[in-house]
């Protein structure tokens, strides 16, 4: 039996990148996994390659999305990995709509699902893992409102933990802050934007990153944090290719 046998895992943004790695890792370790994403072709591809994984095509940023998702499977582990790929351009060349893309997608998803986790509430002992970004700590000048949106996801997790503790719900909210993930769709976009901005090749730029994580490194961190129940309530973790370590949001 796998380490996650008997657990229900829901992965928002489960058809690609980090989300897909998490879904596959969860299934491998024996969890019942539901992968949720907007785009059906990518979900169909996942279902073909990993028949044990259940799939649901839905826009998770919609107000009613959590009740549909939890109607299909009530998770012990809820992973929020979905989000928009921002336009890469300097601030003065973006429209407001472009600038706000991650707020209207990533933050919306975090808001609706954390609100639902608290209101429903999810079963005692459930973990809610948000995949944010180290851009929330250091900024990302070519990706519009991405950094502030990721910061807001961290705050949502932090507030939700406080609320869960106050109401005695026994939920655990955790945020991961990986740096640029060169093998993900957005990672490739970011690498291309920053390398051309710095007038270097993409591979040169990636070599200059301090141990960047792969999608599967992030998935590994998600699984380990879901299993490890010690003292991690409300915690934020920085994820690199070497592993993950706790960090304090106030210090950043």
């Amino acid at each position: 039996m796998g380490e996650l046998a008997g657990k229900n895992m829901v992965v928002i943004g489960g058809s690609r990148g980090v989300g897909r790695c998490v879904a596959e890792a969860g299934a491998k370790l024996g969890a019942r996994v539901l992968a949720v994403a907007r785009h059906e072709p990518a979900l169909r591809d996942l279902a073909r390659n990993a028949p044990a994984i259940e799939v649901l095509a839905i826009d998770a940023s919609r107000t009613g999305a959590p009740s549909k998702v939890f109607g299909a499977l009530v998770p012990d582990i809820l992973v929020l990995s979905g989000g928009a790929i921002p336009l890469t351009a300097p601030l003065h060349e973006q429209s407001w709509r472009e600038f706000a893309a991650n707020w209207e997608c990533d933050v919306r998803i975090a808001f609706h699902f954390c609100k639902a986790a608290l209101s429903r509430p999810l079963p005692v002992g459930s973990s809610i893992v948000l995949i944010a970004s180290s851009a929330a700590l250091s900024g990302s000048p070519l990706t519009g409102g991405y950094a502030g949106s990721k910061r807001t996801q961290m705050l949502i997790a932090n507030y939700s933990q406080k609320e869960s503790d106050r109401l005695g719900l026994g939920l655990r909210f955790v945020t991961l802050a990986p740096g640029i993930i060169p093998d993900s769709d957005f990672g490739r976009v970011a690498v291309n934007a920053y390398s051309s901005y710095l007038a270097m090749s993409a591979s040169e730029f990636v070599r200059g990153l301090a141990s960047p994580p792969t999608s599967c490194d992030v998935a590994k961190a998600v699984v380990q944090l879901s299993l490890n129940r010690c003292q991690s309530n409300g915690q934020m973790y920085i994820v690199t290719g070497k592993g993950f370590e706790p960090a304090s949001l106030c210090k950043w």
């Binding site: 003065h92 407001w96 950094a147 705050l155 106030c250």
Partner: protein, 250 residues
């Protein structure tokens, strides 16, 4: 700038609260002050009492930002426009109430920064941007307020990067008030909500911040920031009643 006398200062969101404190302080220094706000009646009062110029309009309108900057040609732009957040825990917020400060404060700041860079403002101009201590400490009963205010602080950094790259000589600086100001509408609402949650009186909750910061005193700090050359370069400042101005980043 050594003196504010004769400087064109544009205060966006200057009709009430901390923004009004800034207006009073810079008027006292004989600056040419223009106030942008939505409330036309309140603006008429300001015009009568303080002799400032006024522009009535919505700070989130990019056309207003562009035309006001063209008209006033400010050497100091103070971006203070913002909404009072809906005070409630996360799961009692709607998406709309959660997003209020993103849709107002961030959106207005975004358009005024763009207008400042695109105009561009004259070399040596300063743009002061209102972030908040919530951007550091979080603010669990104010929806997306803290995240929005963090975004505003981050944007000051992006804007400085662009100003350097384009060699514009404009400096963007974020203002981080590190206490709840009981004398403003926004601060009062926040203090009442947090006091209720803690089960203490609003007054004793506010007393926990130490010496209060009055809007007019805040305005005097802004005058100091603008006229004391040691504050010319830092990208962000903490401001408190007890400790005054402290640079936050190199």
């Amino acid at each position: 700038m050594q003196t504010l006398e004769g400087q064109n200062i544009l205060v966006v969101g200057g009709s009430r609260g901390l923004g009004f404190g800034v207006v009073e302080a810079v008027v006292a220094r004989k600056a040419n002050v223009t106030v942008v706000a939505r409330d036309a009646a309140r603006l008429a009062e300001l015009k009568d009492h303080l002799g400032v110029s006024v522009i009535a309009g919505d700070a989130t309108d990019p056309a207003l930002a562009e035309s006001a900057i063209r008209q006033v040609r400010p050497s100091v732009l103070v971006l203070n426009a913002g909404a009072t957040p809906a005070m409630a825990p996360l799961h009692k917020q709607s998406w709309q109430s959660f997003s209020r400060n993103w849709d107002t404060d961030v959106r207005a700041t975004f358009h005024w920064i763009q207008a400042s860079l695109n105009a561009p403002l004259a070399r040596g101009s300063r743009v002061l941007i209102s972030s908040s201590g919530a951007a550091i400490d979080g603010s669990p009963l104010s929806g997306g307020y803290a995240g929005a205010k963090r975004m505003i602080w981050i944007m000051a950094g992006y804007a400085n990067g662009l100003a350097n790259e384009l060699d514009l000589g404009i400096r963007f600086q974020a203002l981080v008030v590190r206490q709840i100001v009981g004398a403003t509408e926004l601060g009062r609402a926040a203090a009442e909500a947090y006091a209720r949650r803690k089960g203490v009186s609003t007054e004793s909750f506010l007393a926990g911040f130490g010496r209060p910061l009055e809007p007019r005193e805040y305005g005097e700090h802004i005058v100091t920031l603008l006229t004391d050359p040691s504050y010319e370069t830092a990208q962000a400042f903490a401001i408190r009643g007890e400790t005054g101005i402290q640079p936050l980043e190199r």
